[in-house]
Amino acid sequence: MQFDLDDDRELLRSSTRDLLEAEAPLAQTRSLMEDAADGYSKAFFGQLAELGYFGLLLSEEEGGAAMGAVGLAAVLTEMGRVALPGPFLESVMAAELLRRAEGEAAAGLLRRLLGGEALVVWADREGLAGAEPGPTETRLESGRIRGQKTFVPFGAQADALLVTTTGGVALVARPDAGWASTALPTLDHAQRFVRIELDGPAELLTLSDAALDEVRRLGSLGAAATLLGLMDRSLEITLAYMAEREAFGAPLASFQALQHRAADMLMKTETTRSAVFRAAWASDEGEPDAAFLVAVAKAWAGDAARRVCGEAIQMHGGVGYTWEYDPHVYLKRVKTLESFHGSTRAQIEAALERAPIAAE
């Protein structure tokens, strides 16, 4: 048995950390949050494409790196540590959908996605009100798609959309088809969600419901891994601040009440690491309880990250409430990831439904 990453994935992880520190540190995340029209760096995403990051999950025959869910989780944890903005997980999910679809349209788009030439995202959700997505009402009839999708990540920037319709997933691509998008600005300024009105040509892809569920589950796992990275780094900066900052003539780190809460932050972070990587490993191995373990990991990570990143602000005191210090960047991303890729409440329900011990 071995919990640590194997050499290939450890190299992937450490080189990802180096890459992010050099090219996309948190300082850049912060300036992108505020200034960039797109909310992320297309140049850096081009670099990611060149380095093969969008094909992490593809087999070597498909031109991928075959790093599996464990490799993806390692990469997303690192990306969470710098709160990397942009549609990375979304691109990986789109690649996974396209790879499962037949036909040249999908294959061609996949090639462009992998090469960084096209941004493709999945417009899966409908409905605005409420914690859970509404029912799918978008229809594809006679080659024309009509409907409204909500909270489409980076949908304004996308070159093509994969759209869940009542009849399956349809491909909608520019320049043949455009779409009207309206910004849906959530707490996390770096997430550029939009509402999209669809009324134009589209093509149905051959994708089974099982395939969609697999890719949704990958999204849940990816979100959980990102949450892990967010809390991992939040804990680090909090510990550093507590070691340095003094009150009543002693470092914050020496106050027992704060020590015990820091211990709780560590517990939340490390248990999340255990849960996320076990779920990733089980997914790669096709273990029968993989879906259960992913639900467990996402449910746990959402609650844990909210607590840890909330405590990070509190432990920083007044400066934790300023834009200048970093803790808020993490908490805001957490609030987004808690809601999407299966809300915490929905994942708890999924865990109960899938738990072996809950079977009648």
């Binding site: 914690a131 849906l184 959530t186 409430y321 609030k335 809601s339 999407f340």
Partner: protein, 391 residues
């Protein structure tokens, strides 16, 4: 026991409610959701609202008549604040001036100071901010380092203050500064300092909400005139601590009144999205309602004790923790139950309207930090109420 308001008090409450109905053109949340507003124009809304309140005689109600007061009791002040919070009125820019500096001047200032400063403070012709906290003395306020050095009759102030609410719009700042570097408590004095002078630099601090309602202030030999020293040199700490304890009655009912409105909005939203019959949702809503009502019960107890002329009991020392931690749980629950739409900026076309829960979520992070963090509050309860020893 008697927790009933008198007929006069209920009449006063009705009068306040009627006055608000006639005078509040637009609830604050609608202003905030109006994309045409700028930060400055929002402050102007607040300033105009303060002027209206002042003209109606609702500011400094407990002060002597000479200074705008009307001999209002603790209960009337509490009822007034509750109505103001219930109706979603704008916050007055001079809330700290009126809450802290006013009592300081009335009890410890000179007649000249009162004449000069109280009228424009009430009318909002001058905006005041507070210079207590410093970058390296947050929870440990008495460790402040800003110095006031004699310069002839007057003083020159050097140092840095942070978290000056409304600082970016303020004309004056009331400052705690050291006139004696050795004496931890007895070396602190209380000054009134004009901001528009060389030697004072005000920089806005951007908050996690994106606003810049706070500022940090750099003093570099700023002039504080001798006649603007409140009390004697070295009395600053005592004055500050005394006024921090005043008017605690006024806030006893305001938080539950405000949260009533929030919870009403939350329940309406949950009902509208068809989730009100879900047992898990009902438990979460019910728990919030229970907790808010318990806070109101606790506030009524504090108020009743004050009204009966008694020293506030243990119930009063826990209020800050109660409301500030409740506010976090409440907005957390709202974001969960209402889903991502509740995160949308109120100026967004698809925002759900009503309470801006995303803003409340972020703002609630400040509540457990400012005015004595939850950690400091628990230290105080352990030491002062429970008499536990320091190690």
């Amino acid at each position: 026991m008697d927790l009933r308001f008198t007929d006069e008090q209920l009449q006063f409450q009705a009068d306040v409610r009627a006055w608000i109905t006639s005078n509040l053109d637009r609830p604050w949340s609608e202003h905030v959701a109006d994309a045409r507003h700028t930060p400055d124009s929002l402050v102007e809304v607040r300033r105009q609202w303060q002027k209206k309140l002042h003209e109606a005689g609702f500011l400094g109600m407990g002060w002597p008549e000479e200074w705008g007061g009307r001999g209002a009791t603790e209960v009337e002040q509490a009822l007034f604040e509750a109505e103001i919070h219930r109706a979603d009125c704008p916050q007055v820019p001079n809330f700290l001036g009126i809450g802290l500096l006013g009592p300081a001047l009335i009890h410890h200032g000179t007649e000249d100071q009162r004449r000069r400063f109280i009228p424009p403070m009430l009318s909002c012709d001058e905006i005041w901010c507070q210079g207590f906290s410093e970058p390296s003395s947050g929870s440990d306020l008495a460790s402040l380092r800003t110095r006031a050095e004699p310069d002839g009759e007057d003083f020159r102030i050097t140092g840095q203050k942070v978290w000056t609410t409304f600082g970016p719009w303020a004309n004056w700042i009331f400052v705690l500064a050291r006139t004696d570097l050795e004496d931890r408590y007895g070396g602190i004095s209380f000054f009134l300092v004009p901001i528009d002078q060389a030697g004072v630099e005000m920089r806005p601090i951007r908050q996690i909400t994106g606003e810049s309602e706070f500022g940090e202030v750099f003093f570099d030999g700023a002039l504080a005139r001798r006649e603007h020293l409140v009390g004697k040199p070295g009395e600053g700490w005592r004055i500050a601590m005394t006024v921090l304890g005043y008017e605690r009655g006024a806030a006893t009912l305001s938080n539950p009144a405000q949260y009533d409105g929030y919870l009403h909005d939350l329940i309406a939203g949950v009902r509208a999205q068809g989730d009100l019959e879900r047992a898990d949702v009902r438990e979460k809503l019910g728990r919030l309602i229970v907790e808010n009502e318990v806070m109101r019960s606790n506030g009524l107890r504090t108020l009743a004790n004050l009204a009966a002329g008694q020293a506030p009991g243990p119930e009063s020392s826990i209020e800050k923790i109660l409301w500030s931690e409740f506010a976090q749980r409440q907005s957390d629950a709202a974001l969960e139950l209402l889903g991502p739409q509740a995160q949308l900026a109120p100026t967004s076309r698809d925002a759900r309207g009503g309470v801006d829960w995303a803003y409340e979520y972020l703002w609630s992070r400040a509540g457990t930090i400012y005015s004595g963090s939850s950690e400091i509050q628990r230290n105080i309860i352990a030491k002062r109420v429970l008499g536990m020893p320091t190690r």
